[in-house]
């Protein structure tokens, strides 16, 4: 009875946590909502990097980029502040649709396909695709020379379509914009075709690479807005026209070295400005400038691992008891839970939890989704460890307990579980360390923990090596004391039995 009460109270707590994190839905217009809230929430991926949105190398906790400037200008016109919401680029539109932020602005090309899903503001930038090759390359002059060559580009970018249409090109698709240029420089690729702003930031300063041919293709970046917010889209367009007329837009592009003739089609006036941060500069920033960000990431990693392990241990125990000692419907439910969670990838479970549940009206914030996702997944594994432990306890122990007049639940609690847990303990501590490292998977649901912090910083500064060593050391510095502690506890537990 006590056990049931405890389970019930645990469930209640879980439900409360869930409700807490479900944002309340309302019918007031988006503009009013933003004004009431006091800030404009815009979604983008800082890992995508410069010059769009990226951490300031001089002060990595601050984001900079031309889109940051744009967002600030738009917010100012709305009479509020701008706040960035970190999200993987691939899932910006799904996240926008589920209402995670008010607008998505991150070099999103306006395509017919995307227009079927969301509204776009009027274009804020005309991009072209720039072909980049190694400095000593003399063969490739323009995109017509690409047949049979290995050419890198970004997954889902318009450049990918262009390459596919040429035919006969060995297209290598990347998920980040840094790696294609790295691979080109060391000879893994023959050329890279990407949006001009990207090439301007990453390829132009690289002494091993050069532009070749004229920019090809032409397309527009637009701000994505939820389909039903027509009125909001009009407001954004209004603001754009104003920024355009006042010359502020052009000033921003000038500052980021993104101004070219093509943009004349959108704007008329030309003025200059300063404040452009070059790749060269961010490469030289002293390492300690990154520590605050990395430590914050490490803190989040610890928070997620410890809380979800606690959930896994408790939920696993409940599942085991239900599975082994519960009556039919409950024990089958527990068994099914365990098999399903062990039989499907954690990544899919996280996606369903974070991007899938909003379809049925449950929207979790990233931290809650990470906690529940990891915890529920590991609960299935912990449960199997407990079960193995219980099976290893001799049958006579239960019989002895029962014959002393104990109820089955008292016998499980006092006699069987303490022995089973001793047997399962080494496996559980092992799982904790595994979970600790698996916690990096939650970056797919917009959780910026240690690994994600690393990839964002490394993508901006290209300092994969030094930062990588620091991050690896941080992980080790956290997991090693953990395994020492686990061993100490294990010895203590075993000592009691021997």
């Amino acid at each position: 009875m006590k056990k049931i009460l405890r389970i019930l109270s645990l469930l209640t707590v879980l439900i409360i946590i869930l409700y807490w994190t479900v944002p309340s839905k309302s019918d007031i217009s988006p503009i009013e909502k933003i004004k009431k809230r006091g800030y404009l929430l815009w979604g983008s991926d800082a890992e995508g990097g410069a010059p769009y949105v990226f951490p300031d190398p001089k002060n990595p906790s601050k984001l900079i980029g031309f889109e940051v400037d744009l967002a600030n200008a738009i917010a100012r016109e709305l009479g509020v502040e701008a706040r960035q919401s970190q999200n993987a680029w691939d899932s910006l539109l799904p996240a926008l649709k589920r209402g995670d932020f008010d607008i998505a602005m991150n070099g999103i090309e306006i395509t017919a396909q995307r227009e079927a899903e969301v509204l776009f503001s009027m274009p804020y930038y005309i991009y072209t695709e720039q072909l980049v090759v190694r400095k000593n390359d003399t063969q490739i002059k323009n995109i017509n020379d690409l047949k049979g060559k290995k050419v890198g580009t970004l997954s889902g970018a318009v450049a990918q379509d262009i390459l596919m249409k040429i035919g006969g090109v060995d297209v290598k698709v990347y998920s980040g914009q840094v790696e294609p240029y790295e691979d080109l420089a060391i000879g893994r690729l023959d050329a890279v075709l990407l949006d001009l702003p990207i090439a301007a930031y990453y390829a132009k300063p690289n002494p091993k690479l050069k532009y070749t041919g004229h920019p090809v293709g032409e397309g527009f970046y637009g701000i994505a807005i939820k389909k039903e917010n027509k009125e909001f889209k009009n407001k954004i367009d209004e603001i754009f026209i104003k920024l355009l007329k006042s010359g502020e837009l052009k000033k921003i592009y000038k500052k980021w070295d993104m101004w070219d003739k093509t943009q004349e089609n959108l704007f008329q006036q030309i003025k200059t400005s300063e404040g452009f941060v070059s790749l060269q500069e961010s490469k030289k920033a002293p390492l300690y400038t990154f520590f605050p960000n990395l430590l914050k990431g490490a803190g989040i990693t610890i928070l997620i691992s410890v809380s979800s392990m606690a959930l896994a241990i408790t939920l696993g125990l409940i599942l085991t008891v239900l599975r082994i000692y519960g009556r039919t419907p409950l024990s089958s439910v527990a068994a099914a839970y365990i098999e399903i969670y062990r039989g499907t990838p954690l990544l899919i479970q996280l996606y369903i939890l974070y991007y899938g549940l909003p379809n049925i009206g449950i929207s979790l914030n990233p931290l809650t989704a990470a906690f529940i996702g990891l915890g529920m997944n590991y609960a299935a594994y912990e449960s199997e460890l407990y079960r193995a432990g219980i099976n290893a306890v001799p049958k006579g122990q239960m019989e002895a307990a029962l014959s002393l007049g104990m109820s089955q639940s008292l016998a499980v609690k006092r006699i069987i579980m303490p022995q089973a847990i001793r047997i399962a303990f080494p496996g559980i501590t092992n799982d904790f360390i595994a979970l600790f490292k698996d916690s990096s998977l939650v970056s797919v649901i917009a959780m910026v923990e240690l690994t994600k912090t690393y990839s964002i910083l490394a993508a901006t500064t290209l300092r994969f090596f030094e930062l990588g060593l620091i991050v690896a050391f941080l992980y080790f510095a956290m997991s090693y004391p953990l395994s020492l502690l686990a061993r100490r506890l294990e010895e203590k537990l075993m000592g009691h039995k021997r």
Binding site: E399, S403, L404, G405, M406, S407, P418, Q419, R422, H496
Partner: protein, 251 residues
């Protein structure tokens, strides 16, 4: 005190007990003998509900336990079984002490948690029980620090701490080294002399002869013969008893 009526027990397809009737009076000492696999353990285990049976009735002190045909007994059946277990102590061949608890904790566990006896009182009772079986010095030891004989004596003390009205012993000395059998049998004898209703399944024929009020001979799930020890051992009436005794006494 214990009444067994028309007991039928199946292990799957195997029909082991085909309607056993047997009554035990308060204070009686019954010893069960018979070949291996004849059903002695199963009979004892049916009495305290460690095995379910499919037909018949067992009553302990007028608490009736009915046949259980389902895979799992209902809640009410479980409670009845538990009430019976509170009156009947069991000592197993394998001792089955709780390895994660000290000797003292083993003994006070059930009194404090099931009978809600105050723990000071439970400890006091436990120590006096340990004194009776001569191992009060080992109160703080863990079971695996004890010899087999000591462990079995602690197991007896643990069962007695619940103040049962009857005790079931299922081959209490079978997994002991020969030199330790005596000390365990001495404790049982002592218990019997205090008037405890006692049921013992054993292969120790000398002990059976010495202690039993009645000897029950099992074979293939049937009770072949019941009688005073002298009659059974010197003048058995049934052929199956003779065959069994011949085989076992020759060894």
């Amino acid at each position: 005190m214990i009444k067994v009526k028309n007991l039928h027990k199946y292990y799957g397809e195997v029909h082991l007990f085909k309607g056993i009737n047997f009554d035990i009076e308060r204070g009686e000492v019954i010893v069960f003998i018979g070949p291996s696999g004849s059903g002695k353990s199963t009979f004892l285990r049916c009495i305290n509900g460690l095995e379910y049976f499919q037909e018949g009735e067992i009553a302990v002190n007028n608490i009736g336990l009915h046949s259980i045909n389902r895979l799992r007994p209902s809640k009410e059946d479980m409670e009845t079984i538990r009430k019976i277990r509170l009156r009947v102590g069991v000592v197993f061949q394998q001792f089955n002490l709780f390895p994660h608890m000290t000797v003292l904790e083993n003994i006070i566990e059930a009194p404090t948690r099931v009978l809600n006896i105050d723990s000071d009182k439970a400890v006091e009772d436990a120590l006096s029980l340990l004194k009776r079986i001569n191992i009060e010095k080992k109160a703080q030891s863990y079971p695996d620090e004890l010899s087999g004989g000591e462990q079995q004596r602690v197991a007896i003390a643990r069962a007695l701490a619940m103040k049962p009205e009857a005790m079931l012993f299922d081959e209490p000395t079978s997994s002991l080294d020969p030199e330790m059998v005596g000390e365990v049998l001495a404790v049982i004898k002592n218990l019997v002399s205090e008037g405890m209703t006692t049921l013992i399944a054993t292969h120790e024929m000398d002990f059976a002869r010495e202690i039993a009020d009645k000897v029950v001979v099992f074979d293939h799930g049937d009770i072949v013969e019941v009688g005073a020890p002298e009659d059974i051992f010197t003048n058995p009436k049934k052929e199956r008893t003779k065959i069994f005794l011949n085989r076992i006494l020759k060894r």
